[in-house]
Point group: C5
Amino acid sequence: MAMTQIVRDILAKYEGETPGVKGNLARILMQGRLGGTGKLIILPVDQGFEHGPARSFAPNPPAYDPHYHYQLAIDAGLSAYAAPLGPLEAGADTFAGQIPTILKVNSANSLMSGTAGKDQAITATVDDALRLGCAAIGFTIYPGSDMALGMFEEIAEMRREAASVGIATVIWSYPRGEAISKDGETAIDIGAYATHIAAMLGAHIIKVKLSTDHLELGAAKAVYEDEGIDISTQAARVADCVKSAFNGRRIIIFSGGAKKGGDSVLDDARAIRDGGGNGSIIGRNCFQRPRDEAMRLLDQMVDIYLGND
Amino acid sequence: MAMTQIVRDILAKYEGETPGVKGNLARILMQGRLGGTGKLIILPVDQGFEHGPARSFAPNPPAYDPHYHYQLAIDAGLSAYAAPLGPLEAGADTFAGQIPTILKVNSANSLMSGTAGKDQAITATVDDALRLGCAAIGFTIYPGSDMALGMFEEIAEMRREAASVGIATVIWSYPRGEAISKDGETAIDIGAYATHIAAMLGAHIIKVKLSTDHLELGAAKAVYEDEGIDISTQAARVADCVKSAFNGRRIIIFSGGAKKGGDSVLDDARAIRDGGGNGSIIGRNCFQRPRDEAMRLLDQMVDIYLGND
Amino acid sequence: MAMTQIVRDILAKYEGETPGVKGNLARILMQGRLGGTGKLIILPVDQGFEHGPARSFAPNPPAYDPHYHYQLAIDAGLSAYAAPLGPLEAGADTFAGQIPTILKVNSANSLMSGTAGKDQAITATVDDALRLGCAAIGFTIYPGSDMALGMFEEIAEMRREAASVGIATVIWSYPRGEAISKDGETAIDIGAYATHIAAMLGAHIIKVKLSTDHLELGAAKAVYEDEGIDISTQAARVADCVKSAFNGRRIIIFSGGAKKGGDSVLDDARAIRDGGGNGSIIGRNCFQRPRDEAMRLLDQMVDIYLGND
Amino acid sequence: MAMTQIVRDILAKYEGETPGVKGNLARILMQGRLGGTGKLIILPVDQGFEHGPARSFAPNPPAYDPHYHYQLAIDAGLSAYAAPLGPLEAGADTFAGQIPTILKVNSANSLMSGTAGKDQAITATVDDALRLGCAAIGFTIYPGSDMALGMFEEIAEMRREAASVGIATVIWSYPRGEAISKDGETAIDIGAYATHIAAMLGAHIIKVKLSTDHLELGAAKAVYEDEGIDISTQAARVADCVKSAFNGRRIIIFSGGAKKGGDSVLDDARAIRDGGGNGSIIGRNCFQRPRDEAMRLLDQMVDIYLGND
Amino acid sequence: MAMTQIVRDILAKYEGETPGVKGNLARILMQGRLGGTGKLIILPVDQGFEHGPARSFAPNPPAYDPHYHYQLAIDAGLSAYAAPLGPLEAGADTFAGQIPTILKVNSANSLMSGTAGKDQAITATVDDALRLGCAAIGFTIYPGSDMALGMFEEIAEMRREAASVGIATVIWSYPRGEAISKDGETAIDIGAYATHIAAMLGAHIIKVKLSTDHLELGAAKAVYEDEGIDISTQAARVADCVKSAFNGRRIIIFSGGAKKGGDSVLDDARAIRDGGGNGSIIGRNCFQRPRDEAMRLLDQMVDIYLGND
């Protein structure tokens, strides 16, 4: 398929970026059923690391096999598949060239106590991404954690190295830590701030959580109210994040969190679309369902992003 | 425009410095409406990182777009535009060669708790500055913070690397931290000390805040009083900082802080001029106003530095 | 002996891995009395470092000599011999080429207090492994320790370096530390999680302890019960770990711990075999017995893995 | 001037040292009015960094200008001028080749709290020393501080690098920190120990403070008393330090501290001379006086070291 | 002198070691009056760093001069002379080639508080050892200290580098720290463990203190008692350490500690000899005596190791 104008327009916003990075962004944007539309759906599978294998895969046991996820992403016509080193390697030959992959280069786990749990370990490198033919690296930052400055420095360094060899960077910007309340983790002012930090750090694709209408920080709350920023609907809050991504100059996708009803997942997708977001990153809501059911849900999501629903 | 004698004289004080650094200082000093006068006004936009996007840009929504700031600095005839990696990249092609840029290579944010908040993350490098065609790097130090020694070591190392490839260094010297009271952050003895530390570290351009007549440290207070140093006016305090910048051998500019009335901004500029300072660095007072209003204010500031007001 | 189909099938699961690593995995899988069966028994001797020489070797004094262990592993027809730098070097010439060796590159000891005891020191490198002709490096991680992220980063880096020069990686995944109770260290949910983390980090061979039917983490307990995962027998628990090793795509072996009765050791081996595990790693139960007795026990274990018992 | 025998004898004690280092020691020892005598006076100006500009320079305002100090050292016929990066650079062209310079490569400041204040930041490198044509680097260690081991490692590394390119090393050995009382900082047992540590670390020139007859450590006190070591006069205490500098095999100079009466400064110089020390390093007592007065004082010090007073 | 069979046999136990390391071990083993016997006596002089100059040298003032120690070791026909960088350099030319030297590459001092005192600073490198023509590097580890893992990693790295350029490694294994009682520092179970750790880390020569019959750790005490290990005499305890040094495959020497009566020193030597140890490392008992007395004592020690006493 020839490159569409909408994709050309998106790529043009990455000024001064290497042709290699633009080429890999194009691979993702031209892949699958949403290829060429400027919208994208990514399948991420790092939950085994983060929550353990039973909590992640026991509800749908075929998902214990890394090949399952590659195949699901391919068959559903998704835009990319993201995972840590181990599972990406486990299908590296079999699925080479069939779908763009994103190497998740840092990982957390549920066996950490206290402050140690507000950080992630770097478990793969840009060289691994090159060796495995990945289109991008993925990195989680925790704005609000006391470890955040270190995480910013890590991804700033890896992004630079990745871009210099033509690999794009996806930043998972997940606020948490000493400076933020539990409600604050999904507050809209925090979500927009997390988006902006990822953009500041040079992310090519920004991944944040959908926000609530809670406002966490007093100084920000005052501005939201004084300036009358609309945060009453999910779509409006998506739009606030898009604006915070350099006024839409950076691709931004949203995640939905733990498994929930299919209707809720589809409502999220509509809000992302209506707010001007670029798409969804959907893990547990996908691989914790039986394959047929997951395929149907993904099919409906694609339709939404195509504007058919 | 041919180099003026006043600029030649300033450059001559940078003894032993590489021609590359002198060339980039000249690019800044010869740029815009103050070009050739030895005075300069810089537009810095890192507040989105430091305070979040809503607090920074919602009062003037076009400022969400990084292109807005490039264009404002160019249209107002300013000397340089300073920003972190993300927004500089976002206009790197469009505005290449139109205005000298300063890559802010470390950044703080408002989502940090306790000691973690007394430091900044290094988010860009000298290689990034070279790649993006920047004239200088910008780096914040926090004299008074328990992290200060580490920050001094970081900028000493980056300055050396930058100078060796012809990039100039601007140090934002902002006292804060465990050793200093809130009032002390803007005390004149602390401000002059912060200036001197930046000069000691080899800064080519020193950026400090305007000071009050408060004296923070007992030992310094005694000397100020014994020697009868005049700190009664803003201009006198500027002069004390200029003296602390190797008796005026280093360019020193002053920032004004949060948004305030235009008259107040202009009074600051007059004091900087009268005290022998080299100019202003003005962010929120510039981009948080509607563009027309900001243009008028900058125009008046230029007039002041030209001696017309 | 020509490579067997069962070994070819195992190697085929290491997709995208270097021929050097596959060759070294083959050396181990084709070695000794279990060569070609896909099963393996490894002799590890790092207890002198971990518990001191008297506790390790006084019960069977010839074991003070590093040559004793090389010879025992060779004579018993085991698959590989694993030890730290010192003892491997002490027989490096005499036994060169007679049995694959695994260089244990990090080590703990019993002379540590508090948090310092939840980590290990890196005491050898990939270059040492190459110089000594080793087939693999061995590395211990402590999931659950506050030092775990650092350990993950260390082995991720060493694994990458090792694989690039054709050396395989064995990860000893031993849960312990601030986040886990004493019972939790051998809980099945934790054991399966420890297995999965090792696989995520790219281990070629995973070594974990046999588990009890205790469930440590509330969220995991709920899933085990909701999904009705069988953990009632040792073989069932081995199978749960095998599943967590990428559904059997990675070699997984089990250790038995402190010295105990021979029948108990053999029961363990049967459970490992019946649950689909690849074999045993047996240290103290081997070298703390008189040589003749150890030889008989190992002979019976081989018979079990050959399916003769 | 041809090299004198006394200087040849001193250099011969630096066994195995590179010709570059010996050459730079010779530059210092042959410089100025004491050139060739084996005695030396050094002007150090890092007090602006350590105490701030007003406390350092307001008593004699021309001293705000870095050129002032270069010129003073040259006009007074001193042996060398020592300063941090910033002020050395500020006169690097103007005074090139007129006096040996010592680049102070680490610096403390008065804006630190608690433990953070027991360390210094490395603010320049050996490469800077080469670029600026310096004869030596200067480095402060704080024996007695909890940061001391790190400081020892830093200077051990920098000394090695410096010597390999022919740059000499001066160690400022200033006891302070958690392990030492305020009186202990100038106790003779501590002063001799500080001297010995600097020698152990490979210092070419050792700079310590003059000591009192206080004995700080019980075990040392017993030895001083049992062996009847004379510490009753300043000259005797200087001799004890000289002995601790490898029995006089290393150049050792002494500093006098805060500004005091001229007679006191001269008495110090006589004691240093009579105890066998190599000379003085004099800062505040020099540049905080009016220039004429400082010139007279330095003139008298030279006379003392020449044996004329 | 041609290499003796006993030295050939010792060297043969260093399997796979570089010819350079074997050559340097041979230099030490063939040096002086014990040359060729497999026994050795080493003079170590790092006490000035560890205890200060007065406590170390005032009892015998000629010892302030580094040349004194070189000459003493040579005249007494010892096997090697060990010291930190400073004093080794101070005689590097004069004594080049006259006696093998061991560069002590890390050092402690008596001016440290708390945890900071449980570590040492690295003050020299393998490159220094090469430049100074040393036969070996010496490194102290503190098993039992919370800093021990870091120290193990440091020497593992330095040993590897040293061996790759033909320099041997001597490990001073001195238990101390948070995990060990004062009595435990010289307990036999701890002494044997310390020996074993040094061997595990790849030491070519192991230096430990002579032990008492105290047993520190409960688990070890049980084994010593159950297995009936003889620890009733100094010779028996030496033998237990020799066994822990890979059953005698590594050279092990013993130190005696603070100055004591000559008879006691000689009794120690007899116990070392009778227990199968390779010799003594003797510092304070040597250089704190008048030279004549020290020469007589060393003469008697040589006789003991030659079996004549």
